[in-house]
Point group: C2
Chain length 256, copies 2
């Protein structure tokens, strides 16, 4: 049965989508069968893998709002073993459309049930908010992986995120675990990055992944080519690091 | 009567809060009376100006949800002439709490009415979404200023944002104008930044501010000291640039 991992952080621009795409691609290259669910109405994970939004009839909107089977929305990507459920713009209306629906936080979890046996990993890319889409992802997930940009505001938002995770553990999804915190956009030349990284490691100790993702322009160029970093520039530091992260995620998973 | 300007972009981490704080501070230093409204539940504009969240009874939550007068929530900041209405965490529940309320998109506009004569500028810092808080800001605003990070995903989201602005112009706020696009985190050493900036200037022409904000670590250090850049490091490039931007905002405003 596949592991469902939510990539969440309400702070904007911290590397959620970059981590979802590149961790997904590297896990697939290590032989895992991976499904990436784009739960963000912005649809960056969809276009970052070269898939045009809105081209196909079925997307995450039909799955979550209309209750269509997820297997009808799954698409292959340029990476062998990595599939995606694309997002669409109308997903932005989900919060309002589902407000009177019973169990609206369980829509994604229910839709994922029949897919789990087909994949080793299901990765959920969340929008920058703690609204209904992120709650659906936290309710559907076995664990949550938190990308944390090495900047002041990003650190500030961590307490609010962990409090929301605790609320979900206390009701919607009691078995939700915290996989850990991945430090992103680390720039060793700035005191700010070093200070934030040190503080997070001191405070959260073994909850912090050993793999630290450096700031690297190749990582931000890859999406414009619709490719993960391992296809856009396999010898880059970004590519190496996400391969290391994939191995660490596998290793930590075995340790349970 | 003060100009109400919304700083909006649903893409996360593009420099909305950094622009709201530093443009606000520079306008105040040029003698304008400025009110900064933190409409984001994350509350980064609040802490970025050195104000502890939740310390005071009255915040944006009481104003928007409970209908308390905004003047009861206004606080001075360390910058002469710059006041703030702080945010709080419970603002995150606004979308759900107001769903059955009539005219829920007008709450901020109504609350701002009595404040407008007291200020030359009211700046609204928006969350990274196109939900109810951003809609309230676009409905209350005379114009919208769009910070645009010089990266691929940020450019992608622009069409969706402009479409939302058009929808608001067609109903909730027919007189809403687009002030323009401010390019942020520009790094002249990378092709990506140069390509994005060129493309945006070519396509949006005089809608793009001449002032371009460079990537500068001093800008990301300032919030940890609770100060705008003009107080944290007055001689830095970031400080100069936001002073230029303030002058350009004033100049473009006179031109109407
Ligand atoms: N390690 C990195 N080095 C350099 N740039 C990066 C890195 N990781 C991500 N980026 C770039 O930074 C920007 C923000 O990253 P990304 O979009 O993945 O964050 P996000 O958390 O998914 O954003 P949102 O909150 O809008 O969903 C993107 O333009 C991306 O290409
Ligand atoms: N010109 C700049 N150079 C370097 N760092 C910057 C610059 N502008 C903003 N930053 C930093 O980048 C991060 C994102 O900026 P900021 O928080 O202002 O964006 P935002 O759009 O308000 O984010 P959110 O979508 O979460 O509200 C912050 O850590 C900030 O300090
Ligand atoms: Mg994203
Ligand atoms: Mg912000």
């Amino acid at each position: 049965m596949g592991r469902v991992v939510a990539i969440a952080n309400q702070k904007g621009g911290v590397g959620k989508t970059t981590t979802a795409i590149n961790l997904g691609a590297c896990l697939a290259e290590l032989g895992q069968r991976v499904l990436l669910c784009d739960v963000d109405p912005q649809g960056n994970a969809t276009t970052g893998l070269g898939i045009a939004k809105g081209e196909r009839e079925e997307s995450m909107y039909q799955v979550i709002i209309e209750g269509d089977p997820m297997r009808d929305a799954v698409l292959p990507t340029a990476v062998e073993g990595l599939h995606i459920v694309p997002s669409s713009v109308d997903l932005a209306g989900a919060e309002v459309e589902l407000v009177t629906t019973e169990h609206r936080e369980y829509r994604l979890r229910t839709a994922l049930e029949p897919m789990r046996p087909r994949y080793d990993f299901v990765i959920l890319d969340c929008p920058p908010s703690l609204g209904l889409m992120t709650l659906n992802a936290l309710t559907a997930a076995d664990s949550v992986l938190i990308p944390l940009q090495c900047e002041y505001y990003a650190m500030e938002g961590l307490t609010q995120l962990l409090r929301t995770v605790q609320l979900v553990q206390g009701g919607l999804n009691p078995s939700l675990k915290i996989d850990g915190i991945v430090l992103t956009m680390f720039d060793g030349r700035t005191n700010l990055s070093i200070q934030v990284a040190d503080e997070v490691k001191r405070y959260y100790r073994d909850k912090v992944y050993r793999t630290v993702v450096p700031r690297s322009v190749r990582l931000s160029e890859a999406p414009s080519h619709g490719r993960p970093i391992s296809r856009y520039d396999p010898r880059s530091r970004g590519s190496e690091v996400y391969r290391e992260l994939a191995k660490e995620v596998l290793m930590r998973g075995e340790a349970g």
